[in-house]
Symmetry: C2
Subunit: 418 residues, 2 copies
């Protein structure tokens, strides 16, 4: 059987499983999620052994540290995965929820009911925890899922897939509700992207190259985000101590991810008080600064920023810094160079906080908190299946509700259209 | 200036207008909608004169009656248009609404706020009332819109566009918030479909050919429906008098539209009581029946149905009829041949009604009412901008909410990610 036929067969099995899953009752779905969390902890050693193979191979290949970091199923990542599954298990079941109901003048009662999307495709790189997060959310929302992870995580993914399949079987669900593409052949991705009859939505997760490849080749709708050029604007009315801590957290807590800060905008009135100690704190963490002339006047060791720096997603310990005349200039800068991912304002002034929240059209806009919170788990959605920076269907982290849609329902007593 | 540059310039103007419109306050938007409704009635004769040109041209070209019917801006259509505008004006403004807010264990307050989609493109055929319905909904939701109607409605569309522009100007909105492509050159459509930097979503309305053309060529997301193969299932526990009236309404009240019934499914237990008088009523309205063998046993003049009939969207006075063994068989038939548009069950049995509502995954599922209600105006959304039969972003009639999305917002007190 060629790779094309293999993918079509996989799609057909997924479609049939989706049909079953749409009818699955909430208790059984909850049991599946809780049992999977338990099983992951029970099988910790088995997972660690397989994960170690991927880590070793990555290190042997000389992958950059940030990439190796993403592969690692550390205790913390395992705990986040299982916490995520339990949190998803505990969420109210979205399927069958009536999200609204009203009566028309002719007596027709009209409402909306949540239903699953059908078959969800996920194509991802690196992080093997996506396998579990994505499967859990898709099942909770009554979908079937086809997962295609990166070749560098193949041992971890196969192991996690086996655990998921064992759990599905035990629960009495069709095993085809979660399928992992076992081959690392890139042709498999192209074939998956052609299955618009079998896959209702494709969600790519990974680098910009992968996402563009999926967006350009997929025949089904795609939920995607290209990059996170996240900004923090430190307002003239900011609490400067808090600002220093939040900026440090946003830049260095995990620099290799999409919600890390890439550009810092500082109001000119507090620049001389804020920037020198901030720069020293960044220096202590090994962060290279690239600044505008006003920044360089205050921070002599700062590298001059070029035009490219303002739209750069470094994913590394590098930060662009700009002094601005006003919040309006900060918002203009964000509109021009940003990626609509995550922006924060740090201020004690309520009017500017509310204006920033209203006017900045990014998937998450924060007041006085780190950009690193743009994450489904952190925002309380349970594990997330990705972050959308385009506005259709979902904008921002996508949790269990974003894996459903609503249909209209209507109860009549013989109403006719006149 | 070539057509490509013209469309790009139009897109840039729309993008700038969308930026303004996102900040428009609800009172001014309401004034715009109400004044536009008044202006349409004031300009009734002007509209009638321009519409007459399109009708005459269509009749001279020998277009089928159903197509000419769709062009006509009758008093009833004008009334529906202006009622729609006023209903949309009276709806609560979706922009800025907080659709939910919750607090995380670390004290971060997280919520979702509705924002406009940006620039909406509409490509449509025939019905010139779409120009007004679409513009009204787009403005209410804070978007800018680019409209491209069919060449056969060009006089009506230009006239309605002029009225809209007058109204925008009077209200103090950018005139580029509603732009109508003035040329009938088909190249303009292709150029519009390339403007993924300027148009956030494209909504085609019209025949299957147009919709496929848009779906295949658009670089931006597309909200679409291909066809309406709508079913009514008359259950064994149906009120047969009501059933006859509902079925008649669903087939003949306006046969040329997507929510008209195309296939009638009848439970075998009531087939002999129901079908002969039903067939007589259809005969009285000039409806041709194409039936399964069991139907033909009861209705001798019925034409034999072929396999193609079960998936046909006739848009005409033709109906496919099938006798089924059970509701399960009816649902199987719908799943196999339907288009996920609109299905109804007619029954007095609550258990089967609820099961049908749960199990049939169409954009509108009705109990004891005509399929003709699948329409934004009829379901209470105000005028609609289209009906989506794919599940992403919107499923079913799309009103003002479907022209928005939500962003996440978060209020903190210096929270850091650990």
């Amino acid at each position: 059987m060629g790779i094309r036929d293999e993918m079509i067969a996989m799609g057909q099995r997924a479609k049939a499983a989706a049909h079953e899953m749409a009818k699955a009752d909430m208790e059984t779905k909850r049991t599946f999620l809780e049992r999977t969390a338990e099983r992951i902890l029970e099988q910790k050693d088995r997972i660690a052994a397989e994960n170690a193979k991927d880590i070793q191979a990555a290190e042997a290949k000389g992958l950059p540290k940030a990439k190796v970091d993403r592969l690692r199923l550390s205790d913390k990542v395992l705990r986040e995965m299982t916490d995520g599954l339990r949190q998803v298990a505990a969420l109210s079941d979205p399927v069958g929820q009536i999200t609204g109901m009203w009566t028309r003048p002719n007596g027709l009662r009209v409402g909306r009911m949540r239903i699953p999307l059908g078959v969800v495709g996920i194509i991802y790189e690196s992080r093997p925890n996506v396998t579990v997060d994505a499967a859990g959310l898709c099942i909770k929302a009554g979908n079937a899922v086809i997962l295609r992870g990166g070749s560098e995580a193949i041992h971890s993914n196969r192991c996690l897939a086996a655990i998921l399949q064992e759990s599905l079987k035990e629960t009495g669900f069709p095993e085809a509700a979660v399928q992992v593409v076992g081959t690392t052949d890139r042709q498999a991705v192209l074939e998956l992207l052609k299955l618009e009859e079998h896959i209702d939505v494709m969600i790519p997760r990974g680098g910009e190259e992968l996402i563009r490849f999926v967006a350009e080749n997929a025949r089904m709708p795609v939920l995607k985000h290209y990059k996170g050029v996240c900004h923090i604007y430190v307002d003239e009315a900011a609490d400067l101590d808090m600002a220093q801590q939040v900026c440090l957290n946003a830049k260095v807590q995990r620099p290799g991810v999409c919600n890390a800060m890439e550009t810092l905008l500082v109001h000119k009135k507090i620049a001389s008080a804020f920037l020198p100690p901030m720069a020293e704190a960044f220096r202590g963490q090994g962060v290279e600064l690239r600044g505008c002339p006003a920044t360089r006047d205050l921070v002599p060791e700062c590298v001059p920023a070029t035009e490219e720096d303002w739209s750069a997603e470094y994913l590394d310990l590098i930060l662009a810094v700009k002094v601005v005349e006003s919040m309006a200039e900060a918002i203009e800068h964000i509109t021009r160079y940003g990626s609509a991912h995550t922006e924060a304002i740090l201020t004690e002034n309520i009017d500017r906080a509310m204006a920033f929240i209203q006017e900045v059209q990014s998937s998450l806009v924060l007041v006085n908190a780190s950009t690193r919170f743009n994450d489904g788990y952190q925002l309380g959605l349970g594990a997330e299946i990705g972050i959308s920076t385009s506005r259709l269907h979902a904008f921002g982290p996508m949790g269990v509700e974003e894996l459903t849609t609503t249909k209209f329902i209507a109860f009549g007593t013989g109403q006719l259209r006149t």
